[in-house]
C-alpha cells in the first residue's frame, strides 16, 4: 500500500492519542473519527504502518506506563491497574505477566531492589550496548549515584 503524507500524519496523530495513558480513554473508533480516518481502513493502515493493531498498541502503552509506575513504588498494584485504564485486575495482571515475565507485584518488589544497586556494567561490550539499558524512571539513576559502596546485594 502507498499512503499520502496527509494520511501518514493522521495515523501518527492516532498513535499519539492511543499512547496517552489515562484512567479512561476514547474508544478506537472514536480515535479514528477524531483523526478523520474511516474505521474500515483505520485498523489495516495502522497495522501496516506500525506493525501492530491499534488495540495492541494501546494495551502495550498501558503496560509500559504500568511498569514505570510500579517501579516508582508510590502506588499499589490495584491503583496502578486503574490508573493506566484497566478495569479488571485479573486481566491487567495476566497481560502484564505475559509481557514482562513476572507478576506486577513481583516487578514492583524487584524494581525497588534494583534502584538501590550500583550501576551494572555489561561484562562484554557490544557496539550499541548502551542502548540495552532498561527503561527505568529517572529517579532510578539518581539513586544509583547516591547508593553507598557495599549497599548492593
Amino acid at each position: 500500500m502507498l499512503i499520502t503524507r496527509d494520511l501518514f500524519d493522521r495515523l501518527c496523530a492516532a498513535r499519539d492519542l492511543l499512547g496517552e495513558v489515562r484512567e479512561s480513554s476514547p474508544s478506537i473508533p472514536q480515535i479514528a473519527a477524531h483523526v478523520g480516518i474511516s474505521p474500515f481502513h483505520f485498523i489495516r493502515q495502522f497495522e501496516a504502518l506500525f506493525g501492530t493493531t491499534p488495540h495492541r498498541f494501546r494495551v502495550d502503552s498501558r503496560l509500559r506506563q504500568a511498569q514505570l509506575l510500579l517501579a516508582r513504588g508510590h502506588h499499589s498494584v490495584t491503583e496502578v491497574c486503574m490508573e493506566v485504564g484497566f478495569t479488571s485486575l485479573g486481566s491487567f495482571s495476566s497481560l502484564f505477566s505475559r509481557r514482562v515475565g513476572v507478576s506486577p507485584g513481583s516487578y514492583q518488589r524487584h524494581a525497588r531492589v534494583l534502584i538501590h544497586v550500583p550501576a551494572f556494567v555489561p561484562g562484554s561490550l557490544f557496539p550499541g550496548c548502551l542502548t540495552l539499558m532498561e527503561g527505568l524512571p529517572a529517579s532510578a539513576f539518581r539513586n544509583f549515584r547516591e547508593a553507598q559502596p557495599g549497599a548492593h546485594r
Binding site: L2, R5, C12, A48, P127, G135
Partner: protein, 129 residues
C-alpha cells in the same frame, strides 16, 4: 579500520527479525541472548561476509524518543541499495509493505520509502547507471 557493523533501533526484536528476514530477505547472522535482550544481526545474501546490521532494542527512553521523532518527521533511519527499484517496490507492496513514497527520481538515484513496522521508515534506492 573497516565498517563491518552498523545498527538500527527496533521496537520489537522478534518482530524485526521476522520482517528483515522474511520480507526484506536479509539473512540472520547472529542471534543470542544478552541480558534481557538479544544480539541479533542480519546480512545481505548478496554480500554475506560484509556489513552486518544489528537490530537493537529501543528500550532506552532517549532512543525511543529519537526514533519516534524521526519517524513522525518522515526521516528514514536506514537506506538500502537495490538493483531494480520498480521490481522491489512491486514485490514489497505485494507482501503488504506500506510505502510513504513510491519510486521517485532524486538527483543521481531513484528512491522509495517504506515502514519496517518496527518504528522506522526505511529508504531503498537504485543508483543511476
Amino acid at each position: 579500520m573497516k565498517i563491518k557493523l552498523t545498527s538500527i533501533l527496533v521496537d520489537d526484536q522478534d518482530k524485526a527479525l521476522e520482517f528483515y528476514t522474511q520480507v526484506l530477505r536479509f539473512q540472520k547472522k547472529f542471534d543470542f541472548p544478552v541480558g534481557k535482550y538479544k544480539w541479533i544481526t542480519v546480512v545481505s545474501p548478496e554480500e554475506p561476509n560484509e556489513v552486518q546490521l544489528a537490530l537493537e532494542p529501543n528500550a532506552n527512553p532517549a532512543a525511543k524518543t529519537f526514533q519516534e521523532a524521526m519517524f513522525s518527521q518522515t526521516i528514514p533511519l536506514a537506506a538500502f541499495e537495490v538493483d531494480d527499484i520498480e521490481k522491489e517496490y512491486e514485490r514489497l507492496k505485494a507482501l503488504g509493505v506500506l510505502f510513504t513514497r513510491e519510486p521517485t527520481r532524486s538527483g543521481p538515484i531513484t528512491l522509495a520509502v517504506f515502514s519496517d513496522t518496527c518504528g522506522n521508515l526505511i529508504q531503498i534506492y537504485q543508483p543511476s547507471h
